[in-house]
Symmetry: none
Subunit: 540 residues, 2 copies
């Protein structure tokens, strides 16, 4: 049986931006669009050109995508033609191949919120969609509050859909704007809409997660006949978020009855990048990835219950509904370090360290990593620090120098011109062999601006390391990430520092402490030690 095509419409860059605390920059939008395109969604909604400077700038530099790049806007206002509505013109001027306009379909909202007649609203929908089509673009109509509108005034809500359809809209999207419609009701109403003659091949669904059922609501709509799903990566979005594409994509591709009935634009190969894409988005937003996230969470395939873990070892299918590798995720069995040891050997081999299969150091390394992770360390994103821990246990870590003490001062006060300025200063004392070296640095950059205490520390630490100086002179700090996390029962600060050198290498190190300066210092120290080891420098 030929599979039907189901379309995925991503609105991470528009509705996802409505997430509280989320404000994408143009560079971040570009990065996310590339990621979405790599996954294989069919439409990428970039934002609302003209609504704010970032969205306008993003559409001006708009990335080349395989997906249909779409601008969002709203239907024209009453009392002017579509061509003369400057808000709509702003959207059209972005020049995207597709344009999606939101419009009202709930009579109460038309008269109350817009203060226009029901007829004016119908005319606005029809004229706006017709304008998009006349300009040679693909038109989509987002039927705002459709489900509530249907329940309040079924005939009018349907008239709104028909106005869009008549004007040539490729898609009419049924939006559950306030997220209050439960899946069974979504299913029933979609079926009635189709029975009224609007073909499912032209219908989309846009669910919100206010009752934690947006994924199920989207699936119910598909079962009832819609053929486009709108959603966002990681379920970002206004209030409780939108339907989560990160959960929907693997379900549609791997689970029945969907996998046999539908074809989507995401390939099995691209699906393997799903976990990475999800975590990358969290990284861009500096959010802690949700461990319990379906399919992509760090706990999604973690088997903690003793009964489960022992069965998993015999046959993974006993407690896993899909193979974690299919979505680029990993099985975690806290109690079994059998699998842990072979993973560890593979990772060490990547770092150029060969260890025999039964070497007892392997168990010790796993124990140290486990205990440090309990303290808040994270070695997934800090391979260089991981290598140093392993080398220490394997007796392969030279002692290059010893830090005797350091001191960092941040001072804010008036300068000579009576302006408040901030200055940081760091003093580091190290012992190399028998020699003690004191270095001091300020945090000023070339422009005379304060770059903060970690910058001062980094400069002081790298200022005079005697015999090692030649090796570290081409190092520089390229990124610095901070996260408040859990260490045991206390909140601690985790700092991850990315360093680079003249040979084009880039490496990441981690530090954890209740004191952010100290966490940074640990990561800086690891960065220097890794460089010395990797360059094969001999300890003085």
């Amino acid at each position: 049986m030929a599979r039907e095509r189901l379309y995925l419409y991503d609105t991470t860059l528009r509705d996802g931006q409505q997430t509280q605390g989320v404000q994408f920059s143009t560079a971040e939008k570009t990065q996310i669009a590339a990621m979405l395109d790599g996954l294989g969604v069919d439409y990428i909604e970039g934002g609302w050109p003209g609504a704010n400077p970032t969205d306008s700038e993003f559409f001006a530099v708009r990335p080349e995508t395989r997906a249909v790049f779409t601008a969002f806007g709203m239907t024209k206002r009453a009392g002017r033609s579509a061509a003369n509505d400057e808000v709509l013109a702003g959207v059209m001027n972005a020049g995207t191949p597709a344009v999606c306009l939101v419009g009202k379909t709930h009579d109460f909202h038309v008269t109350t919120a817009l203060g226009m007649t029901l007829e004016e609203n119908l005319e606005n929908i029809e004229a706006s969609v017709a304008h998009i089509v006349a300009e040679g673009r693909e038109a989509l109509f987002d039927a705002e509050h459709f489900f509530d509108g249907w329940k309040a005034n079924r005939d009018y809500a349907l008239d709104c859909l028909r106005a869009a359809e008549r004007a040539g809209a490729r898609w009419v999207v049924l939006c559950d704007t306030n997220g209050g419609t439960l899946p069974a009701e979504v299913r029933a109403i979609v079926a009635e809409v189709i029975a009224e003659g609007i073909p499912g091949e032209q219908l989309g669904i846009h669910c919100h997660n206010d009752t934690e059922t947006a994924v199920a609501g989207s699936l119910a709509a598909v079962e009832a006949g819609v053929r486009q799903i709108q959603g966002t990566l990681n379920g970002l979005g206004e209030r409780c978020g939108n339907a989560n594409l990160t959960a929907l994509i693997p379900t549609l591709l791997l689970k029945e009855p969907y996998a046999s009935r539908f074809e989507i634009g995401v390939s099995r190969e691209a699906l393997k990048g799903l976990t990475r894409a999800s975590r990358k988005l969290d990284d861009i937003l500096n959010r802690v990835p949700l461990r319990a996230a379906a399919y992509v969470g760090a706990s999604a395939f973690a088997h903690k219950a003793g009964l489960h873990a022992s069965a998993i070892v015999k046959d993974p299918s006993t407690y896993e509904h899909v193979d974690p590798g299919l979505v680029g995720n990993e099985r975690v069995i806290p109690m079994s370090n059998q699998a842990g040891q072979s993973n560890l050997r593979a990772r060490l081999k990547d770092a150029g360290i060969e260890v025999a299969p039964k070497d007892p150091a392997l168990g010790r390394i796993l124990d140290v990593i486990k205990s440090r992770e309990d303290q808040g360390y994270a070695y997934d994103g800090a391979q260089a620090s991981f290598e140093l821990v392993a080398r220490q246990e394997l007796g392969l870590m030279p002692r290059f120098f010893e830090v005797k003490r350091y001191r960092v001062t941040v001072e804010r006060r008036k300068n000579k011109r009576d302006r408040m300025v901030t200055l940081s200063e760091a003093v580091v004392v190290v012992k190399i062999g028998d020699e003690k070296k004191l270095s001091v640095s300020e945090s000023m950059d070339e422009m005379g601006a304060d770059r903060g205490p970690v910058n001062a520390l980094s400069k002081a630490l790298g200022k005079d390391l005697g015999p090692y100086q030649a090796c570290i002179d081409d190092m520089h700090l390229v990124d610095f990430k901070v996260r408040i996390t859990q260490g045991g029962t206390e909140a601690v600060t985790r700092v991850i520092i990315d360093s680079a050198d003249g040979q084009g290498r880039r490496w990441s190190t981690v530090g954890v402490s209740a004191n952010i300066v100290d966490a940074s210092f640990q990561a800086l120290l690891d960065a220097i030690n890794w460089k010395l080891v990797r360059d094969g420098v001999r300890p003085a």
Copy 2:
């Protein structure tokens, strides 16, 4: 029409404990049980007595609850009687009014994982349940892997349910153990089970969230006829978690068709404690509450889109499917550069500041917010700082005190016992009226551990503010978030600080600087100023 009774079975203390990283103490279990009982769930599953020391201890000190307190265990092993199985005896000896035993119903698991015959397993189910009933307790049977079992060998899965029913089980619970069954399939299979003669009044549902549809799967099962839902608070549980009672309870109580059809043990009054209960659990687990959580999240009623905010001001029902007060949550209208003047006025009104619609200060406030957001500030999550900006522009911001200078030192060196220790110290100089005040503090906590430079600064700043001291003495810092972000063309640090006071208020402030200490200081200053303004303190 009389409403049917629907029962809620909470397994936060048992399946919820399978969450990666979660390990309740006996005291925490006691606290959570009291919270669940206050909400009004029907059953509280406390754990598996005999399986680990904590669970055994908890059952020994077991709290008095209105809910039916339930012990969990598994069906007896083959080759011995129920009375002679010491694992089952451990469960029975806890003396709870109800006992829930998990048993296999999937033929593959019976033969592969248990290595027994299908007949032996049936006999174990029947004998174990009969033993519970004979001891005068209420018996529940958790049918493990039921949905996969049904698909593999329908007759055998059904025989297992019938064995439990025949032996007198009050409830037979259909468990989707690996979380792979989607709602439509749950609904269909439950309907078939009921059609086979197992009454819905004796059936329960136990869903996991591996496809992000556990809530919808539970609702689908109820629609098909089951009358007990198993779940956990905040959706805790193995892998991706269990069905989330925090989302299910308000849906069952407030939303149709459930509210009219069913009666649950949770009252409307108790529902108002739901948000508090959810956050309290996160607090016990030291987890950051999920902002986007349905009903109870801090973002669940946050209206960021400008269009939404202006409609909400006219009529909250436009973009809210339920009133946030019903679940003890609050409406939030955050600021961001997407928002317009109506958003702004609504937010100011919530803060007790009335501004006329066309007041030119509104435009100035938006300009200041916009320009600060360009520098890296984010006011979505820092409403107290937003209020201060607005008050400044409106001429409603008193000048309480002036910071003349501050200095923070972080030092790491050897202590008297020759161990490396870190200590932070902060000096703050403020001027109040004509009086200059110098305060100094260290970062040590009660345990003698360094809590870092921001802690020291916070303590020094709040140590002696003369006439204001009485007002700020009940303030404390509850959370601290750091993000490296873009300010113009440079990377800057954004710090968001959450503060709380003795009146139970909690507020968030923001600071931005290339220097993390300075960014923190700004946020701390805002926190104090907001408290002084809100408490109506007069400037000295």
